[in-house]
């Protein structure tokens, strides 16, 4: 009897072994949550593309210490409920060792309690400041805080001796976060917000708000939104003949904005990650090499421009890669190693995580760019 059992066992083993030729060490499973469809797809799609591209590149180069990476991606559709379901699935069924994403602040806040409880490190690609403030043990993020972008703009306004501004923000979470930061930081930079207007994400005409702004003392307009709203605003500003500087947020730092706003985009200034102006950077810039490589690879694979949203995913995967290389693939080790990341030159900036800082970036992560002749120019 035992002989037969033994033979069955070995033949089964043989079948299993021959069926999986690469049965060395199993792949390291990493989960990814992106809003690939839905209203925030402009974030999730490049992020998914980039994450897959980077993982493929790592595997092609032999993986991490001989082990390949496996990326398990789910679409959250920008819906917090779906994000929670997908995160549960990643943790319970797919048994991933770390998660990258979600793409939006809302989705991220929804999955934080889950990852904290399951003790799985999460590297979010969303920008909201509350994700890492206060610091949560298992949660990191790669997207630059809105507060850094606001600080960049205010610094420049001060240089131009502008003290009265009008604020025009979109009424979604991105605009609300920008508005919060714009109001919070105004006083310390000596800036007075003379009027605070909003518009809906699907609005098609903002002349009413701008007419109101024209009637005030504002010396500049700061607009916080993502396409297409800001492009319409740029056109409306031109239509109304408003002759005051217009500042935008990093939410529109892509060629798409120039394309949509057309001539009306000339002279608009906005904070942006360095990826937009990779080729304009001085060679001494430590990020330049990675930025150019990312842009080139993305172009080659997806025939589209790599943007800073994709960059968030690039940073997330590469940060995890570094952590796994240094400390192995247990969730706890990955978390500890992430926290010790120093001077990592990513796409979004130079990351320095610490026990007190899980966002890792400074104001230097942003440069100010100006639209000139349908292209970008660095603002000194």
């Amino acid at each position: 009897m035992s002989g037969i059992r033994c033979r069955v066992f070995f033949s089964l083993l043989f079948v299993v072994l021959t069926a999986c030729p690469a049965l060395g060490a199993p792949p390291v499973k990493i989960g990814a949550l992106f809003s690939i469809t839905g209203p925030a797809s402009f974030l999730g799609e490049p992020e998914r593309n980039t994450a897959q591209m980077v993982v493929d590149e790592i595997n092609k180069a032999g993986g991490i210490k001989g082990r390949t990476l496996e990326l398990v991606t789910y679409d959250t559709q920008g819906d917090a409920t779906k994000a929670v379901q997908a995160a549960t699935r990643l943790i319970k069924e797919d048994k991933v060792v770390a998660i990258i994403g979600p793409s939006t602040t809302g989705d991220t806040m929804a999955v934080i309690p889950l990852v904290e409880k399951a003790q799985i490190p999460l590297v979010s690609c969303a920008a909201g400041i509350k994700i890492t403030e206060p610091v949560k043990k298992w949660v990191f993020k790669t997207a630059q805080n809105d507060s850094l972008a606001v600080a960049r703009i205010y610094e420049q306004l001060k240089k131009r001796k502008i003290s009265k501004i009008a604020v025009l923000t979109v009424s979604d979470s991105f605009g609300a976060s920008g508005r919060e930061q714009l109001t919070a930081q105004a006083r310390s930079h000596g800036i007075q917000i003379v009027t605070d207007e909003t518009y809906g994400p699907k609005d098609t005409d903002m002349t009413a708000q701008l007419t109101k702004i024209r009637g005030t003392q504002a010396q500049a307009i700061v607009c916080w939104g993502t396409n297409p709203g800001p492009a319409i605003i740029a056109r409306n500003v031109k239509q109304l003949g408003l002759n005051i500087p217009l500042y935008m947020s990093h939410g529109v730092s892509s060629k798409k904005f120039i394309e949509l706003a057309g001539d009306a985009s000339e002279g608009i200034i906005l904070p942006s990650g360095r990826v937009l102006v990779a080729n304009l950077l001085p060679n001494s810039d430590p990020q330049k090499k990675n930025l150019q490589k990312f842009v080139k690879d993305y172009q080659a694979r997806y025939k589209a421009e790599g943007d800073h949203f994709g960059g968030h995913a690039w940073d997330a995967v590469m940060l995890l890669k570094g952590a796994i290389e240094r400390g192995g693939d247990s969730p706890a080790a990955i978390r500890d190693q992430l926290e010790q990341t120093r001077n990592f030159s990513g796409i979004g900036g130079i990351f320095n995580y610490s026990a007190q800082d899980h966002a890792g970036l400074t104001m230097d992560a942003f440069v100010l760019v100006e639209v000139k002749k349908k292209g970008w120019a660095l603002v000194k």
């Binding site: 797809s41 009424s171 009413a208 024209r214 109304l240 394309e259 949509l260």
Partner: protein, 294 residues
């Protein structure tokens, strides 16, 4: 003085947005009057107008005029196919199920557009330049003049059509009593098809003239459709002046609300107006109440 020119600007902006709502509202009204159903896919024809023009312009490299023509033609073809495939086979269904079918169709059309053309927003070039024109201290763009002109032409044309042409009169007869219309020899099914043709053509035209100003993407139809629906309700679903005034009123209210009160209430204003009218005068602001003889 400053406030006066501000008000003029609010009014002008409101009227130009309102004209678009009116055009979309007309599309709703035409189908409602011929079939008694509310076609919630109307907004998708608006989207198709803009997206197809863009497709013919950039992907096919056609000049503007043929691109616009082809876009109107193709959206109308979609409208026709929609009626033949989804509405006609179910002529005996209740209006409610037909309305639900139109919602399904709108999701289908939107999804197809997303798969075909992606999720990006696109801008059409303006028809005649983008140098602002000044009127009484307020400014508008040449494209606004196009919007006003097209709206007026369509309103006059539809008015003439429904009052004087045989086909127009026949369509009104079908709306009033399809059975009786059938008995006097009107081909009711043909009229229903015809109403879909007209309304998808009007819808796509609205989408085309508005696209250079407001940009277009696969999902612009939802909100524009809803606003057009509002306009039609205010106008009592009339396929004439009522809906037009409804649209203009809505646009002006929105713009004044955003300018004088707060932009946060802009959409709320539209829907509060809609609700008030549905409660107080469900037959529309401008329609005379019909007395029904028993």
């Amino acid at each position: 003085m400053e406030t006066a020119s501000q008000i003029v600007q609010y009014l002008l902006s409101g009227l130009s947005t309102g004209a678009i709502y009116a055009l979309i509202g007309l599309g709703f009204a035409v189908i409602y009057n011929a079939t008694g159903i509310i076609n919630f896919a109307q907004g998708e024809f608006v989207m198709l107008g803009g997206m197809l023009t863009l497709f013919f312009l950039t992907d096919m490299n056609l000049p503007l005029v043929p691109a616009v023509m082809l876009a109107i033609f193709s959206s109308t073809a979609v409208g026709t196919a929609f009626e033949r495939l989804a509405i006609r086979p179910l002529r005996n269904a209740t209006p409610l199920s037909l309305v639900i079918i139109t919602i399904g169709a709108s999701i289908l059309i939107r999804g197809q557009a997303m798969l075909l053309w992606g999720k990006d927003t696109h801008a059409l070039p303006p028809f005649s330049g983008s140098d602002p024109l000044e009127i009484a201290g307020a400014t508008i763009l040449p494209q606004h003049l196009w919007i006003f002109a097209v709206t007026i032409v369509i309103i006059v044309a539809s008015r003439l059509f429904f009052t004087y042409s045989i086909a127009g009169k026949a369509m009104r007869a079908c709306a009033y009593n399809p059975r009786a219309a059938g008995l006097v020899g009107i081909d009711v099914r043909k009229m229903v098809l015809f109403s879909f043709v007209i309304s998808s053509a009007i819808g796509s035209m609205a989408g085309i003239i508005v696209a250079p100003l407001t940009m277009t993407s696969y999902d612009v139809g939802i909100l524009l459709g809803l606003k057009g629906f509002c306009a039609a309700i205010i106008g009592g679903m009339s396929s004439g002046l009522g809906t037009v005034i409804g649209g203009l009123l809505l646009g002006v209210l929105e713009s004044l609300g955003a300018g004088l009160i707060s932009a946060s209430y802009k959409d709320a204003i539209a829907f509060v107006v809609l609700l008030v009218i549905l409660f107080v005068r469900p037959e529309g602001v401008f329609k005379k109440t019909e007395t029904e003889r028993v």
